[in-house]
Amino acid sequence: MAVHLAIGCVSVLLLVSVLGAALARSRHATTLVYLACLVVSLTASANGAITVRGEAASSSIALPLGLPWLGAHFRVDKLAGFFLTLVNFGGAAASLFAVGYGRHEISPGRVLPFYPLFLAGMNLVLLADDAFSFLLSWELMSLASWALVMSHHTEGDNVRAGFIYLVMASFGTAALLLAFGLLAGNEGDYLFAAIRQQRHADLVSGLVLVLVLVGAGSKAGLAPLHVWLPLAHPAAPSHVSALMSGVMTKVAIYGFIRIIFDLLGSPQWWWAIVVLVAGATTAVLGVLHAVLESDMKRLLAYSTVENVGFVFIGLGLSLAFAANGLSAAAALALTAALLHAFNHMLFKSLLFFGAGAVLHATRERDIERMGGLIHRMPQTSVVVLAGALAISALPPFNGFVSEWLMFQAVLASPSLPQWGLKLLVPGAGAMMALAAALAAACFVRLYGVAFLGRPRSDAARDAHETDRWSIGAMGALASLCLLAGIFPGLLIDALAPVVAPLVGGRMPVQSAEPWLSIVPISEGRSSYNGLMVFVFIAISGFGAAFAIHRLSTRATRRGPAWDCGFPDSSLATQYSAASFAQPLRRVFATTVFRASEHVDMPVPGQTRAALYLARVHDVVWDALYAPLAIGVDRLAGLLNQAQFLTIRRFLNMVFVSLVLLLLGLAIWP
């Protein structure tokens, strides 16, 4: 039943896409398309949630589409149900935001047809039950989002961003294609059900792991394949950026879980090492980039890279436990990863919406030219503050809960027998702690520079509050961030049926715990109660304020800033984003990013201006992509000569390759 409804939703989305293309010039098209997407996404999200809670393990359908001998198979099981909920909820929030935000779009004709198509593509990836439909949907998702990235192609560097995205997306799909080829084995049966039955040699499954890590990881933003993400995500309109960062990366994570946890069979312990190293590197590298970035949307995109790293650390831990038969701990780690994916969808969408509202109000993406927005955009500033608290993993918000569970999973790992894991897991835990602390610094910087202080430009001085639809969408997400942090037990229990079939275990039933606290392994080991912490903070904060106002004085006077007796009205004396990041840059980036500072002071008597230069290198780009691009260029130059051969030589070449291929076939065992 569920699968029929899900396919129905996808069909409606495809129809809306056509409608969007046809009506793009009409005045009401924006409202109409986004409202339609909102309704469909909410339906699909509810459908997913019902599937997760329902009795039936799965429901499937085969449609006579695609390859004639294969058809198109779709299936909704618990895992797909959870991700359907996540993806479509994010889609619904983005659509609600876009009802207001989309009105400011300069060229709606470039956005409206592709937006529903993008949503449909992501849904189809989750529904696909054979490799062919999976890859086709994956490509649909990539291309639709590429079209959205290119919708503002006249601005800045967006064309380059789109090109790099396209290259990386094709590369990722190619890796997934090879992985499915290996999975299908010699019979070449591409049905997921058939793939599950296959048994693979260790080497083959290891190769599949690497290919999937490259294929799904490049889409999710795993280092060193993350380079396209901070370019492409910010280039799209803000509600699409939110979808790409908050939701599409989750589809990639779904792809990884589906293939590695579900299709590939029982895991090897060394897989965990690969995944953990990739996750920990990604988390730290992403947040270090974010903390030095001053483009608001790019900063958020880098922070997405960090959070994807967190999720992969959770997945790696889960693989390690599952390989050693510790199913309860594996369930804990997998639940933490899935919960973090869900939480990240909530707060990253919220923050990108906030960035969109600020972008519209100030026409600025650079936080160095913002400031004081808390006075001009009072409602936006409250919800963005909630998002910043949540993403910095601070209690009582939801980001803390998933990271807390992740730490608990790390603490469960001394029981692992392998030495490699014993030594690696604490390192990954330290990296996670470091990344979490850096994320808090990063968002203090973002919020402090953009929303607090004095306006740094006329645009920031004249900013205005955003529209009601946008506020509504952000407010809903902000309240959910808080609610998910206060009542995490409900979410953890809801995840139990999703996790159980994948690792063969589950976390303790949280709703049975007194006072709604959450318990990762057993009572007496550790527990956390978000509700209690929230209530305590609220009571003591309000109590202190009330007591002081009542018993003492509430007299307040306004005056000029004190600033140690030397207030300077010049805005140049205000701390900027670059100066805030300076200590962090010196401490962390000197080695990692080869950050350097260059000060050129005029000698006394000279009247020229002093010069200060701070340089930061993107190591991954310099070490990997730049040489690769040069290599490809050289190779293309060499092969270019083949264009100018005579017909005789071309025929020779065809003949020789034919002979070689036949020889290969003859030798093949």
Partner: protein, 318 residues
């Protein structure tokens, strides 16, 4: 009856930390003054300061936002909640299960988040410099703290402070390398988090090296009082943490009668006095370090914490 006693113990703890926090600060100041051959302010001076500040009218900068006015109460609330969850005179308090050591660290992180934001609200250079440096310290101190927590949690099999504390009290813990490393890491973190010498100087204003004082420069009146109070609570919290983890003697078991509780309170006050004395001694015997040396100082704590955790991953007996 037992419930009432539990509730009373929890309430007593919450009030006790409130009552003792200014005293500890006053005590440290007094000892420092005596060590420098000065007479020093009376022990109750911090209380007097707080009362005086609370009664004064608050002066806000022209462009201070609502966040600037709300932040002190949030900082205070988060710190107080964290402080009331650390066992002081009795373990297994009524609400101790609502947050473990990781959550207490994160609660202090919430307080710091708002403090740094408050520092940036008015848009002065001092506020920014303080916030930026605080952020840098925190990025190293917080992981160091978590690594310390990991070491203890691996030994105790729990991150719950009461459980860890009672394990540290039990005879089968013994002397361990990992514990020594964790202790050093915790002390370094405590010094940095409380803005003490050599990381920061709680007694200076008008100095470019200041961190904590720079962030709260624009505050006055009741807001300043609340923030100062929160800072005193934080010092008490770290002292209690060190006391309950590494000097756990005298802490009453949960459900114990009145007499063990009284002993617990007495022992707690003695421990605080001892730690305050050591802090004052340490502070008078060392010079403040340059800001960028602090990163190395905290980096050492992080490495020690990680080393301790690694040792425990290798063998539970180390």
């Amino acid at each position: 009856m037992a419930v009432i006693l539990d509730l009373a113990a929890q309430g007593g703890q919450m009030l006790l930390v409130l009552a003792l926090a200014p005293l500890l600060t006053g005590f440290v100041r007094k000892v420092k003054a005596r060590l420098l051959m000065r007479k020093g302010p009376p022990l109750v001076q911090p209380y007097r300061d707080l009362f005086r500040l609370v009664r004064k009218e608050a002066v806000l900068a022209d462009n201070a936002s609502w966040l600037f006015r709300v932040a002190p109460y949030l900082i205070f609330a988060a710190t107080w909640v964290a402080a009331s969850l650390v066992p002081t005179f009795a373990g297994g308090l009524m609400f101790s299960w609502s947050a473990d050591l990781i959550a207490i660290t994160a609660l202090l992180g919430s307080a710091r988040f708002f403090l740094a934001l408050a520092g940036m609200d008015v848009g002065t250079s001092f506020g920014g410099i303080g916030a930026s440096r605080e952020a840098m310290f925190a990025t190293l101190a917080e992981p160091a703290m978590l690594m310390m927590v990991f070491s203890l949690a691996l030994l105790a099999g729990s991150t719950q402070l009461s459980t860890v504390s009672s394990l540290m009290h039990s005879p089968d813990i013994g002397l361990r390398v990992s514990l020594a490393l964790a202790l050093v890491a915790l002390i370094v973190v405590a010094i940095a988090e409380n803005a003490r010498i050599p990381v920061d100087n709680p007694a200076t204003h008008l100095e470019l090296t200041m961190v904590h004082e720079a962030m709260i420069l624009e505050y006055s009146g009741r807001h300043l009082a609340v923030i100062e109070f929160a800072a005193q609570l934080k010092l008490l919290l770290y002292a209690s943490l060190i006391a309950c983890l590494f000097v756990p003697w005298g802490i009453a078991k949960s459900g114990a009668g009145l007499w063990p509780l009284a002993i617990g309170v007495g022992a707690y006050i003695i421990k605080l006095a001892g730690l305050g004395l050591l802090l004052a001694l340490f502070e008078t015997s060392i010079a403040k370090m340059r800001v960028f040396r602090v990163a190395e100082f905290l980096g050492i704590a992080l490495m020690l914490g990680l080393l301790g955790t690694l040792l425990l991953f290798v063998s539970r007996s180390l």
